[in-house]
Amino acid sequence: ELKVEQNPLFLSMQEGKNYTIYCNYSTTSDRLYWYRQDPGKSLESLFVLLSNGAVKQEGRLMASLDTKARLSTLHITAAVHDLSATYFCAVDADWTSGSRLTFGEGTQLTVNP
């Protein structure tokens, strides 16, 4: 059974600081996704990582994937209040037969002024 673990689960940081969220998973996969969820809302896609060594950046967020270590990171640079949300990683362990995602528990990020 595929397990996906995120840490930390709760993160409170000051504006302007940097931090990294980690996503570990238990079985071989080369497809990993990062989503953002605002309170009471659905999921918004942030990054799609489809191969070992993939790195993608959008604004103050950068995601990377190391399939050998079964690890993805979401790095936040110079955080701003608008980044406050819950961030989920999700792994697709068998995308050839229907793309079924297993999610981590989420990291609730609060950026304080």
Partner: protein, 110 residues
């Protein structure tokens, strides 16, 4: 462009009552479709997925069922709701590279 709809947006139902949640997708044909549930403060759990009309796979045992009567319609049902069925229900469709989520239905079972 593709659009995914879910209704109702919110629902309050008593224990033991039936349930029907609907999801429709526009702008694509023969999509893979998914139902996820999110308990309060938790991640998403895949409940059902479908690769075509009438083809449903269940990921977890429960008192819920799913049906796909048309190519772009996916329905989640229950004959008798339990308190533990409360949560945020999200429908999704996928292309070969990504899953796209609907706006969700927030269900409270009282």
């Amino acid at each position: 462009s593709q659009t995914i709809h879910q209704w109702p947006a919110t629902l309050v139902q008593p224990v033991g009552s039936p349930l029907s949640l609907e999801c429709t997708v526009e702008g694509t044909s023969n999509p893979n479709l998914y139902w996820y549930r999110q308990a309060a403060g938790r991640g998403l759990q895949l409940l059902f997925y479908s690769v075509g009309i009438g083809q449903i796979s269940s990921e977890v045992p429960q008192n819920l069922s799913a049906s796909r009567p048309q190519d772009r319609q996916f329905i989640l049902s229950s004959k008798k709701l339990l308190l533990s069925d409360s949560g945020f229900y999200l429908c999704a469709w996928s292309d070969p590279y990504e899953q796209y989520f609907g706006p969700g239905t927030r269900l409270t079972v009282t």
